[in-house]
Symmetry: C2
Subunit: 191 residues, 2 copies
């Protein structure tokens, strides 16, 4: 997972704790296309690792089966480029496990970064985080499934990024689209 140079960014897709439509805390189901799309975006932008986080045993097993098909199974022969992307995916129980693992590899705790759909006080412009990444700081970008990360999980993050703004008030990007846009803003044409 460790590379000698370049930005040290990992991403995590959180399936628990997230909120549902009514604001209740739930564990969401792992979605095949989230793993594929986010792995392909991660590989394109030089992300070091993509953690799929869920505490549910059956969901972990499903995610690992999906990944294994593309990394060591028939999918790896069918589409070697997809293998390269899916190799980035690691399934873990919870966020703390991910943070500990990155710290063990780097000798430094990663800064956790979240994004919010609405403006918040203290949120950070993309250019600022881009500079931190250029300086080599290990960072872990968190994405929530379902209706988004649980409030406690948001509150514990080290950095809140500014919302992605489009043309107006409507902001209901899929997690796949949001990941792609945010990686492009942080790491696009990174020289």
């Amino acid at each position: 997972m460790k590379r000698s140079s370049g930005p040290n960014l990992s991403i995590a897709l959180i399936h628990y704790p997230v909120t549902n439509k009514n604001g209740a805390i739930i564990a969401s189901a792992v979605t095949n296309l989230d793993l594929h799309d986010m792995a392909r975006s991660a590989k394109t932008y030089g992300v070091r690792a993509f953690y799929a986080v869920t505490p549910l045993e059956d969901q972990k097993a499903l995610a690992r089966k999906l990944v294994a098909h593309w990394v060591t199974g028939g999918g790896a022969r069918y589409n070697p480029k997809r293998r390269e992307a899916m190799e980035l995916v690691t399934v873990r129980d919870n966020l703390q496990q991910v943070i500990d693992e990155i710290e063990a590899v780097n000798g430094q705790r990663p800064k956790t970064v979240v994004t919010c759909a609405r403006p918040r006080s203290g949120s950070v412009p993309y250019g600022d985080l881009r500079q931190m990444l250029k300086a080599g700081a290990p960072c872990l970008l968190l994405f929530g499934t379902a209706w988004g990360l649980a409030p406690d999980c948001m509150a514990q993050a080290d950095i809140i990024l500014d919302p992605v703004r489009g043309a107006g008030e409507y902001n209901h990007l899929s997690v796949r689209a949001a990941t792609a846009i945010i990686l492009d803003r942080l790491l696009g044409d990174f020289v």
Copy 2:
């Protein structure tokens, strides 16, 4: 479809003519999640219309059924925000029909724009197209499904955008991710 101000950008997702893994020209299948993700990105960035293009009758019927569920059916009540996005989707037979329709609405033929995964001579930086959009020119951005737009379709476009560049040589974004990134580069924080 016409709005009085703001950039005049439409997008089209082409299911024919596209290439398969071996470079043969095929008609690809309509994918539910392409329509959802691209409609949500389009709505977020103020895109005027999202055309799903396929000549196949059963695929047109499927696409229209999917859209109707979210625009007038149970989906519209379940998630009104999704309705707002899916309202942008129009199913059409072929690219010429789309171009004619945009010309009829605007009194001006739209410039057709494609992106390529590899550098090409004469390709245009994102900032240049952003300026054209600021100036009010109607543009139609084309995205290919499967292994990408057929070479003839690429060759007939008015504008070829620079490739999206990440961290290195790997560039295998999903069409959903590529759409999101390109809309952000062209229309993000558009004031």
